[in-house]
């Protein structure tokens, strides 16, 4: 069964390139444009094997999203990766405190993305 991932980012370019890379590698993907949209996608899905979320987003940021997602028993333990840039050491820690499993540093290559996803989601 293909692994199913939720990709949350307000940037269409980032979102689409991530889903493109993942789909090329056989993953199933669902996109969300911000944290709120992400929560709705969680409600309407039975499972996700991994969630990738940006931090800075309008409406609901990634940190709040992770906190809320972890409150949902279905996604209490799902691996969550935070998209971050290297300048954001504090955001990285905030993400971890909120319950993220790991992070992906932007900019990233397709290989790097897949390596990190494999690391936590398989």
């Amino acid at each position: 069964m293909a692994k199913k991932l939720l990709v949350i980012d307000d940037s269409a370019a980032i979102r689409q390139s991530i889903t493109y890379i993942l789909q090329q590698d056989g993953y199933e993907t669902v996109e969300a444009i911000d944290g709120l949209d992400g929560l709705q996608k969680l409600d309407s899905a039975d499972r996700f094997d991994c969630i990738i979320t940006d931090v800075n987003m309008p409406n609901m940021d990634g940190i709040t999203f992770i906190r809320k997602a972890r409150e949902n028993p279905k996604f209490k333990f799902v691996p969550i990766l935070v998209l971050t840039t290297e300048s954001q050491g504090t955001k990285m820690n905030e993400g971890k405190e909120a319950g993220a499993t790991g992070w992906i540093v932007k900019p990233f290559s397709a290989d790097k993305l897949l390596a990190v996803v494999k690391k936590v989601a398989e």
């Binding site: 290297e86 319950g99 936590v120």
Partner: protein, 745 residues
């Protein structure tokens, strides 16, 4: 691949930049509006984060310093003033221009460089002088100095930017470049990559590690993928059910890893858990095989602080093994002892292999190697004669030389033997073809996986393993792996796998052939064995014993005789060949899941650890690995009425063979004799000899063609005094003894 989203990004950035413009203009009128500052930061941050991914590295780097400035405003370190807004607007136009440029690799133009210097200067002047907006914490003195100096300091700052410009810009750049440098460092293996290094790794997961979705075992598996891993989990901390919180982690690991990927690759494995979990990575020096000495267990326990020196001293006084004593007295956790032992074994292995890589190699005809081993064998013999002669002469100078020579010769012997060792992988490749041809012939889809191809074995052993392995693999394909249809029906993938695996285990190599087929049908095997008279009706056999029945002559459970597995010949040949190599065969099977046949083979045939025995004036050698015990021949032992010879041994009746009779040796029989008890093909048997002399490491010399058919002898060796000792083929002797017994019964 990401290039196709370049246009999407450009459009998105365009939109963000026009938003940024609006936001900045609004900020000018409401500089304290936190929401507006956040929005500006977010826009810049998004562009910065993504630009590099879509081929706009230059715009990305340029935006980095602007982002820092806006971040300083956002976190209250700097006030939003007209300078910030002016700079941001100019930067916005510059970014736009950069995104329109086709070539992202061109250097920054003067305008861009000046802007970047100004961003940095603006952060600095803000952080030094401006009190955080809305925070009353800044002291009055500071507040005063702001008022007084805000204009001039801004100017000095700028002049510093142009005057000592290089230094200021450089510091700024180093600071921002650093994380990138570590990033690339983590991507590429460390500078030591390429050569094998050994590390000790302690991993103590945080108790709440499961809560963020971390899969702990995955991390250990990732470590294992980096190289050769010896790992021991400490399970002692797992409490009983009534005290256990199932969402808490109790297990920690001690590992030793030999890898060529470098320490950064190891750090990368734990990158997401470091901090909350304890991860210690230490480089271990592997001493040279000849130079350094292996550390003792006690030493290692002390070094790691696992035992107290006084406890160790006390424990060492005991006759028992150190580890046992410490465990018995609860001075040491079992997993700690296990991890120290694992580390010791790992280092020994790494030591043996550390010169493997990168060395030059020379091709030599194998005949020459055989000659070398032969000559070394002669030398070992001659050397032993020299030693015994010098001891009778009593000349101290001469015995000194003899002793030195003895050491040299034994090193030479080990060396010569190691030269003949070959990785077993060379034969593995042949089997690919076998599997390919056979699966198409049988209409099956089977893949061959191999593991441990680098495992080394004596060349002659490898050659003799070829036929048995072909038989086993054929058998797996024919009787084990099902047809694609059957597999689908059983809910398995249509493609079957046969896995060929070799690994070291002490002085042996274990070779396993496993398939994911239907497994051995134990009932069918028992039925067939009864039909063929191989077992008595109603005889109860364990599954392991029943599995071994397939290696008996004339056994086949396939309903129809296929061209592949033939008429039940094959597997019995396997057993015979492995026996003659001094190895053992075992079978593990599980209905519907598959079976595994394991062969345990001695590393070399050329040298054996033997037990030297004497009958009259003749010497014989028995392979030590099969010897179970040496006992006195009891007076009451003797021939029973039906001719079979039995004596009582540990409450059982043990059949025995008079070697004196078997080899027709003349001479008077001494009153006191000994019996060597050996394990032969799952049976015990005793051999009566006049005297047991002791351990004897020996070089085997093959017998000439004339002696090819002599039963009961598998080779010869030359003793220290120049006489010949024959090596007993005890399996053959035991077999004929059992046959004789069966006839007379």
């Amino acid at each position: 691949m990401i290039d196709k989203f370049r246009e999407t990004f450009r459009e998105e950035a365009e939109e963000l930049l026009s938003q940024l413009e609006d936001v900045l203009l609004e900020l000018e009128t409401r500089p304290d509006d936190v929401e507006l500052i956040n929005a500006a930061f977010r826009a810049v941050h998004t562009i910065k984060g993504s630009a590099g991914m879509f081929g706009f590295e230059k715009a990305g780097r340029f935006t980095h310093d602007l982002e820092n400035l806006l971040d300083a405003c956002r976190s209250g370190l700097r006030a939003v003033d007209s300078r910030v807004i002016d700079l941001s607007l100019r930067a916005r136009d510059k970014i736009r221009a950069m995104l329109a440029e086709a070539d992202s690799s061109a250097p920054f133009d003067e305008e861009a460089q000046a802007l970047m210097a100004e961003f940095r200067a603006a952060v600095e002047d803000g952080s030094q002088l401006s009190p955080p907006p809305g925070s009353g914490k800044a002291g009055s003195v500071k507040a005063g100095s702001v008022k007084a100096g805000s204009g001039t300091v801004g100017a000095t700052s700028l002049s510093a930017g142009s005057g000592h410009g290089s230094s200021g810009a450089d510091t700024g750049r180093t600071a921002t470049m650093q994380p990138e440098a570590t990033q690339t460092g983590a991507d590429k293996p460390g500078f030591k990559a390429g050569t094998d290094e050994t590390y000790r790794i302690v991993f103590e997961p945080a108790p709440e590690i499961f809560m963020n979705g971390t899969k702990v075992l995955k991390l250990i598996e990732e470590l294992a993928e980096l190289g050769t891993l010896s790992v021991v989990p400490a399970v002692e901390a797992i409490p009983p059910m009534d005290l256990l919180d199932p969402e808490r982690c109790y297990v920690s690991w001690n590992a030793v890893l030999t890898t060529s990927s470098g320490i950064n690759a190891i750090r990368d494995v734990f990158i997401f858990v470091e901090g909350a979990s304890r991860v210690v990575i230490e480089h271990l020096d592997i001493p040279d095989e000849d130079g350094g000495r292996q550390k003792r267990v006690g030493e290692m326990l002390l070094e790691r602080g696992l035992v107290r020196p006084e406890d160790l001293g006390e424990a060492l006084k005991s006759q028992k093994r150190l580890g046992e004593v410490l465990l018995e007295n609860k001075l040491l956790k079992p997993s700690d002892l296990e991890s120290v032992l694992a580390e010791q074994a790992h280092i020994k292995h790494a030591q043996e292999h550390q010169h493997d890589t990168g060395a030059m190699s020379v091709r030599v005809a194998s005949v020459k190697l055989d000659q070398l081993v032969d000559l070394v064998g002669e030398m070992v013999t001659l050397q032993a004669r020299l030693t015994s002669s010098t001891s009778t002469l009593g000349d101290t100078t001469l015995s000194g030389i003899a002793e030195q020579l003895e050491r040299l010769v034994s090193q030479l012997r080990d060396n010569a033997m190691s030269v003949r060792m070959l990785p077993i992988g060379s034969t593995f490749n042949k089997f690919r073809r076998v599997v390919r041809d056979l699966s198409s012939e049988l209409g099956k889809d089977v893949e061959l996986l191999t593991e441990g191809a680098e495992t080394e074995l004596d060349k002659t052993v490898i050659e003799r393993l070829n036929d048995p392995l072909v038989h086993i693999i054929r058998n797996s394909l024919d009787h084990g792996v099902e047809s694609p249809d059957d597999r689908r029906a059983a809910g398995k993938p249509p493609k079957g796998t046969v896995c060929l695996k070799a690994s070291h285990s002490g002085a042996h190599v274990v070779i396993q052939v496993s398939d994911d087929g239907k497994g051995l049908d134990m009932d069918a095997i028992r039925r067939k064995a009864t039909e063929r008279g191989l077992i008595a009706p109603g005889e109860i056999l364990s599954d392991a014993d029943a599995g071994l029945l397939i290696f008996r002559a004339g056994f086949s459970t396939a309903v129809s005789v296929t061209s592949v597995s033939g008429r039940g010949v094959g597997m019995d040949v396997v057993k015979r060949e492995i026996d003659s190599l001094g190895g053992t065969v075992s079978v593990e099977t599980s209905a519907g899941v598959g079976s595994t046949i394991s062969l345990q083979i001695p590393l070399t045939l050329a040298i054996i650890e033997g037990l030297l025995v004497r009958i009259a004036d003749e010497h014989f050698v028995l392979p030590l690995s099969s010897v179970e015990a040496c006992i006195e021949l009891p007076d009451d032992a003797g021939q029973t009425s039906n001719g079979s010879r039995l004596l009582s041994y540990r409450g059982d009746l043990l059949p025995y063979v008079e070697l004196r009779d078997a080899f027709a040796i003349q001479g008077t029989v001494p009153g006191f004799r000994q019996v060597v008890v050996v394990n032969s093909q799952e049976h015990k048997i005793g051999f009566v000899v006049d005297a047991v002399i002791g351990d004897y490491q020996t070089v085997i010399k093959p017998l000439g063609r004339m002696f090819k058919d002599v039963s009961g002898i598998s080779g010869a060796t030359i003793l220290g005094d120049g006489t010949v000792a024959l090596i007993i083929d005890f399996n053959r002797l035991a077999h004929s003894a059992r046959a004789a017994q069966a006839r007379s019964a």
